[in-house]
């Protein structure tokens, strides 16, 4: 099973907690996905408000690990402070590091990402960087102390699925021993199966599950697709060929004319 920063997990699916129709449906989706890890965030609390407390209790009751994010941060200082505040609240050194660089595509600012990752690993954080499939950036993130990489496969929430399969394959080949999680852009279970067939260790999803007509059903469908893709990768798949190859042996076939 996958290991992230020395923690062994039983699931290859990491599930986001945003955009579900209700807290009860979120809880059911988490159960049906069989995930060990959910992503969470931090936002300004209104005076006298209790909004954060109810969500905090729900997450505690789910009994899964939390991976807090720095979603929405556009600068290194914002991301670093958010990470520290998340550690204070969630009592974990894990942080899904996002430094957003482009307003429309939500593409990571990879320069800021590397800088923030270096600062945070220096302060004892275990960083899960949301990055692109750029191999040089990946190398810099590893040099900065990251021991997991999380490349996008398409823009966040786009549901487009893998846009650069050769790029993802190259990343897997370049870093055979680094846990790789596809984060962002997955729309349907076949997309998740595709990246798992490339040898990725896990998939992080949110909108594809939360936005489905039946989020809990979709969570289960993704869990199955992810396991199928993973098993297929290790079972060794056939490569496509140009010509037909009969699957039924022709030797001994009767001749009727």
């Amino acid at each position: 099973m996958p290991q992230f920063y020395g923690t062994e997990l039983r699931s290859r699916l990491l599930l986001g907690t945003a955009r579900y129709p209700s807290p009860a449906i979120l809880a059911e989706a988490v159960r049906r996905s069989n995930t060990d890890i959910v992503t969470v965030s931090l936002r300004r609390e209104t005076a006298g408000g209790r909004s954060g407390g109810a969500f905090f209790e729900l997450i505690r009751e789910l009994g899964v690990r939390v991976l807090p994010n720095t979603a929405g941060c556009h600068s290194v200082s914002e991301a670093v402070l958010t990470a520290k505040m998340a550690r204070e609240v969630f009592s974990t050194d894990w942080i899904k590091l996002e430094v957003i660089g482009h307003q429309d595509t939500l593409q990571p600012d990879v320069f800021g990402l590397v800088e923030a990752a270096r600062i945070l690993t220096g302060e004892g954080f275990e960083v899960f960087p949301y990055t692109t499939d750029d191999l040089v950036v990946a190398e810099r993130l590893l040099e900065a102390g990251c021991k997991v990489l999380m490349p996008w496969c398409a823009p966040i929430g786009s549901a487009m699925g893998p846009q650069n399969v050769p790029g993802l394959r190259a990343m897997r080949a370049e870093f055979p021993d680094v846990p790789l999680i596809v984060d962002a852009g997955i729309g349907r279970p076949s997309h998740a199966a595709t990246v798992m067939e490339l040898g990725y260790d896990a998939v992080l999803l949110n909108t594809a599950v939360a936005g489905a007509a039946d989020p809990a059903g979709m969570a289960e469908a993704f869990a199955k697709a992810i396991e199928a893709g993973h098993t297929a990768y290790h079972a060794g798949m056939l490569e496509p060929r140009d010509m037909a190859v009969p699957s039924t042996p022709v030797i001994g076939k009767a001749v009727f004319s």
Binding site: L26, R44, E45, T46, A47, G53, F56, L81, E88, V89
Partner: protein, 65 residues
């Protein structure tokens, strides 16, 4: 004392960060606080003195992807 709390300016007679949170009816162990861009641990809120024009952030858990 003039303070900016979560982006909004207010006038409050609070000596410490803990005083301010009590005054605003913030409670719960799920809050994280920062003053002028620096984290203030929950354990340090009682001794953290506030100054005029301090910028205070009070964050809590929410759904995220």
């Amino acid at each position: 004392m003039k303070l900016t709390i979560n982006g909004e300016e207010h006038e409050f007679p609070a000596a410490t960060l803990a005083d301010l949170l009590a005054l605003l009816d913030y409670e719960g162990d799920w809050l994280a606080t920062a003053v002028n861009g620096e984290l203030v641990h929950a354990a340090d809120r009682r001794t953290h003195l506030l100054n005029d024009n301090d910028r205070i952030e009070v964050l809590s858990p929410m759904q995220g992807g």
